[in-house]
């Protein structure tokens, strides 16, 4: 079973090639699980071309989400990209990250930076308020 076959089998078609790097081990584990649940792998290859059973659709979602979570946790993708991979809205992706105990990388990087940027924004908003 080649790695490329595994990637084809388990990753949603909208993923970039770059996104698949490092996915082999997880894909292998998922493949075994899918085969256990759904039988021989050929049936899984055809699954995306046919209407999914509800259970399979759930499995596909879970693969996408799992992949997105691992990529975000490793610092390889932004929150927005992770949400795209998982097929979730931005806010829902934040919920999933929190649910799985993965720290959100929310900016700014320090209070000093927040202070500096904050002052600039306050000045701009005060100006806006005066002119409105």
């Amino acid at each position: 079973m080649s790695t490329s076959t595994l990637q084809f089998l388990h990753l949603p078609s909208h993923l970039d090639e770059e996104d698949t790097v490092g996915w082999e081990e997880e894909a292998d584990w998922r493949m075994k699980r899918f085969e256990h649940l759904h039988g021989h792998q050929e049936s899984w290859i055809l699954a995306p071309l046919n209407p999914f059973e509800e259970r399979r659709e759930t499995e596909v979602m879970s693969v996408s989400l799992s992949f997105a979570l691992s990529r975000y946790k490793a610092g390889l993708v932004s929150l927005g990209r992770a949400a795209e991979i998982a097929g979730l809205p931005y806010d829902k992706m934040m919920d999933e990250l929190q649910k799985h105990g993965i720290s959100l990388r929310i900016g700014p990087s320090s209070v000093e930076e927040a202070e500096r940027r904050g002052e600039r924004l306050i000045a701009a908003l005060k100006q806006l308020r005066r002119s409105s």
Binding site: G75, V77, S78, L79, G80, R81, A82, A83, E84, P89, Y90, D91, K92, M94, Q98, L104, R105, I106, G107, P108, S109, V111, A114, E115, R117, G118, R120, L121, I122, A124, L125, K126, L128, R129, S132
Partner: protein, 136 residues
Amino acid sequence: MTESLDLLRRCYPRVYVPKAVSDEFSVAFQMPRGLITRTLRNTQQAEAESIGLGAGENEAMVLARDMQLPLIMDDGDAQKVAERLGVEVYGSLEFVRAAFCSCFIEREEYDERIDSFQESGRAHPEYVSWARNASK
């Protein structure tokens, strides 16, 4: 972020949203009134796609830079990229704090919003404390 959209509308006469964000948003929520959806031109779109973050993040950066407007975006990685592109970028918490300090909202409402940040766990406790201690 979505919790701050109403406040953005109160502070700014116009709030622009790139199409990718609008599309994504409308999947899960009712798009708030008064937000202006902007579709990128082909050249902008090509540049946005080359950034390599999420489609919404990519488009927002290019739009903000070309319109010379501040950008509200929470993801730390995306903020760094936006700054490298020359975009003036702020997080939701910074924006809410600035709205309070510039008298767009009163203390009671501000405290409720900060509580909400704290409860959501979507801001580092250090930043929440920093924001909570703000004064006009």
